[in-house]
Amino acid sequence: MAKHSNHQESVLPAMQPRSSARGLRIRRPSVWAFSTFVIALLVAMPVIVILAHVFFPSGDVWSHLASTVLGRYLSNTVVLSVSVALGTTLIGTACAWLVVMCRFPGKRIFEWALLLPLAVPTYVIAYAYTDFLQYAGPLQSMLREWFGWQGSGDYYFPEVRSLGGASLLITMVLYPYVYLLARASFMEQSVSALDVGRTLGLGPWRMFRRVALPLARPAVIGGVSLVLMETLNEFGAVQFFGVDTFTTGIYRTWFGLGEQVAAAQLAACLLVFVFIVVLLERASRGGKRYHASASYQPLPQYRLGSGSAALAFLACFLPILIGFIFPALILLEMAITTGDPLFGEQFLGFAFNSLMLAAGAALVAVLLAVLLSYSARLNGSPWIRSANRVAAMGYAIPGSVVAVGIMIPLAWLDQRLNLFLRDNYGFLVGLVFSGTAFVLIYAYTVRFLAVSFNTVEASLGKVTPSMDAAARTLGQTAGGALRRVHTPIMRGSLLAAGILVFVDVMKELPATIILRPFNFDTLAVRAYSLASDERLAESATSSLFIVAVGIIPVVILSLAMRNSRPGSRKRSQNG
């Protein structure tokens, strides 16, 4: 109860209509502000539950951690994050610019094919490459045979199961986040800015650096911060590679050392990393605004000479080769030669469950992201902004920690309900809150709201406020303006947000395993069951299915996005 009243108070400042000229006039602030707050609170709850552990004493375990493993967790996490962030920025931005602004062979295919690695879970790419590249794998065995090498002492071969290997492979499956957001941003860019650049005599390269990149910066940084959070909570691949990071450390401390409190405190440290990421993003934007004025004529395109075209082709092809084609081929080979013994009807069940969960979670996450970011736009109160920030934190927390954070309050509710019914009416209803697929959708929302939120917020920020003003002058309500003005302009980004959440849920593993109801398997769970039983070849079938099911929506939606540039329909009619 006490909590409830606190919550009311904290909403109040936000609910007062603002009369300053700075913000927009708000007709019904209470609904937007209030629902934002409730949603943010619900989404933040699991994180708060975990962080509440921080205030319990944790004995001597910290001095043990500090004197033994903490330094390694820290340095591995930092090196991994920085190298993945740099790699994904480079690949994602460069490829996005190439396919939006340049003409070269294969461009139409690259537009969507560059997204394909997104469908490959990090743990799957780790399995595939390890199998192929390790000492006992086919490549090194072949080399040894060819050159007559006797042992590992006779030659040098980079160790795939290393910090470097993990950085490289994670980069190769995560760069699409940057690519997707950067591309959407380049596509939404206004021709006027580019025209100004051109009249000032900027060539393609300088145009990219001086005009387009600064304008796309919020989107690129939004993408990189997704990548960073995804890297921070990465578990499957780093665990498999024996690279200790904060996330593997949390598991080990919780379950190996049996120190739940210290594990939660480690999770809190991880959140400090996330705060740094978020703050860096904010700081990099500074006070600048990146609204583009609304001039959505067709974008100009640079025709590349044959040399540059070949380079552009390679730049786009290599990431797809390493991040998708090659691992998919390895999986295909394993799936054909060995494969899953359950392949058949049961598989359709796994796939159906995965699809339903992913679609449901994507819908919920995009709707909530629109609601939250639009509400923050309407009402610039710091309360709303910080509520949004907290709501988007779940992304960086390892899935199983989120799962426990959800399980604790929901199972508690179930307990209370059942105790009440038993004591008063003599029967039990079982798990109403925590034992159904509903809890999975909740968990995915907590985990992936940041994905849709960052995407939607970046896009909404580019809609100039004069649009809002014009809509409201014409008699639209806040909701009406959102529906009739913002949503159509943001269509491409909304699709992007949906895709990202969808694919993320397809791949999600730890929370699904812990929270799923009886007899409810997904493709990821199936792949994991076999892989954790060290049946990699058998698990290849499910892995391949995750990839296959994941790329269908990626491709369809990506094709749809091609026409999502406002005014693009007019262009296609003319041409």
Binding site: H64, L65, T68, V69, T130, Q134, Y135, A136, Q140, S141, Q150, G151, S152, E159, R161, F240, F241, G242, D244, Y251, R252, F255, G256, L257, G258, E259, P341, L363, V364, S400, M407, A411, D414, Q415, L417, N418, L419, L428, V429, G430, L431, V432, G435, T436, A437, F438, I513, I514, R516, P517, F518, N519, F520, V525, S529, L530, S532, D533, E534, A537
Partner: protein, 340 residues
């Protein structure tokens, strides 16, 4: 959006009512095992008793946490784990209830049962030493303790200490040699490693076969599985690798227990007990041994040519609670000696 949420909630409610309705003839399993062959056991159980089996698979620690949190509302009837440490931990959390069953008591040896029937062990998995047949004389090593000898510098492959089987093994060494002795051993093994710990047990066996290291540590059934693989390349790997059962002359080879107990708030207690009794039946025990190459808890049902060929083994019957109690200390030792 409200309608979507509303629908979800209604569906959720309906589903949960269906899943937990009191009248249903069913048993709800929370299982840390994830072997396809287990499905054969569940099917056979349903056929014999008419009791439907509902299943959630996950990691032991997560399942324990879940049952604990669900409390009286928990639908869990039986918790199945793959290691002794987690049986102990579950018992410590108070999520098991005592079971008195003539069948279980007579069929399972004392060392594989909780004295008050809180849990029962149904199969054993041995942690063995593998060696390179072409390059290593197996008479040079006969105990876990030998692995720490400096003469094996750069020769050992073993997986990360995040793995519960390594943790249990070290927990047993803490019992036999004290914390200092166990730490000395762990340090010795780290010094002898051929490469940083990585991959799973099968990867260690493959590394031995490929000549990357002469010695490896892993559970026995991964080897048996390779030997019985459909893939000729896998069988070739197994043929290149020999197996050593450590400490045969004294306490025996370290074993972990796959076991189960009836949940404290089991809504279908009778069915749960029947299920445990079924796990001790010849049918189930033969599946453990036959399909998954585990050592069955019931004597005399062993019908697995690979396991048979190993003859009568001396298996360490250390008290399971010791493995659980020593587990956190084992992890600390691993941290201190830098065993990843």
């Amino acid at each position: 959006m409200i309608t979507i949420k509303g629908k979800l909630a209604v569906t959720a409610l309906a589903a949960s009512m269906a899943a937990t309705s009191v009248a249903a003839n069913e048993v709800n399993l929370y299982s840390a095992r994830h072997y396809d062959s287990d499905q054969a056991i569940y099917d056979a159980f349903t056929e014999e008793t008419g009791i439907e089996v509902n299943l959630i698979e996950g990691k032991s620690d997560a399942l324990i946490e879940r049952i604990k949190r669900e409390g009286v509302a928990s639908p869990a009837d039986v918790l199945i784990t793959v290691d002794a440490g987690n049986l102990w931990r579950a018992d410590q959390e108070g999520i098991f209830q005592p079971v008195e069953s003539e069948t279980l008591n007579s069929r399972l040896p004392d060392s594989l049962r909780h004295p008050e029937g809180h849990w029962f062990g149904f199969s054993q998995r041995l942690r063995v030493i593998y060696y390179d047949r072409s390059d290593f004389d197996p008479s040079r090593i006969s105990t876990y303790e030998d692995l720490a000898k400096s003469e094996f510098k750069g020769e050992i492959c073993i997986r990360s200490s995040n793995n519960i089987y390594n943790q249990s093994l070290l927990a047993s060494l803490v019992e036999y040699h004290g914390e200092d002795g166990a730490q000395e051993w762990a340090q010795g093994v780290v010094d002898n490693m051929a490469r940083d710990p990585q991959g799973g047990d099968t990867d260690q066996i493959r590394a031995v076969a490929a000549g990357e290291c002469n010695l490896a540590v892993g559970n026995h059934y991964y080897y048996a599985r390779l030997l019985n693989s459909d893939d000729e390349a896998d069988r070739e790997v197994a043929r290149k690798v020999g197996i050593i059962f450590p400490n045969q002359a004294e306490r025996g080879v370290h074993a972990n227990i796959g076991g189960a107990g009836v949940a404290a708030n089991a809504p279908n207690r009778d069915n749960a007990v029947r299920f445990l009794e079924f796990l001790a039946s010849d049918t189930a025990q033969e599946v453990f041994a036959g399909s998954n190459h585990e050592f069955p808890a019931v004597e005399g049902v062993l019908k697995n040519p690979v396991l048979d060929s190993w003859g009568n083994l001396n298996i360490d019957d250390i008290n399971v609670s010791v493995l659980g109690e020593n587990n956190p200390e084992a992890v600390r030792i691993f941290d201190r000696v830098g065993w990843r």
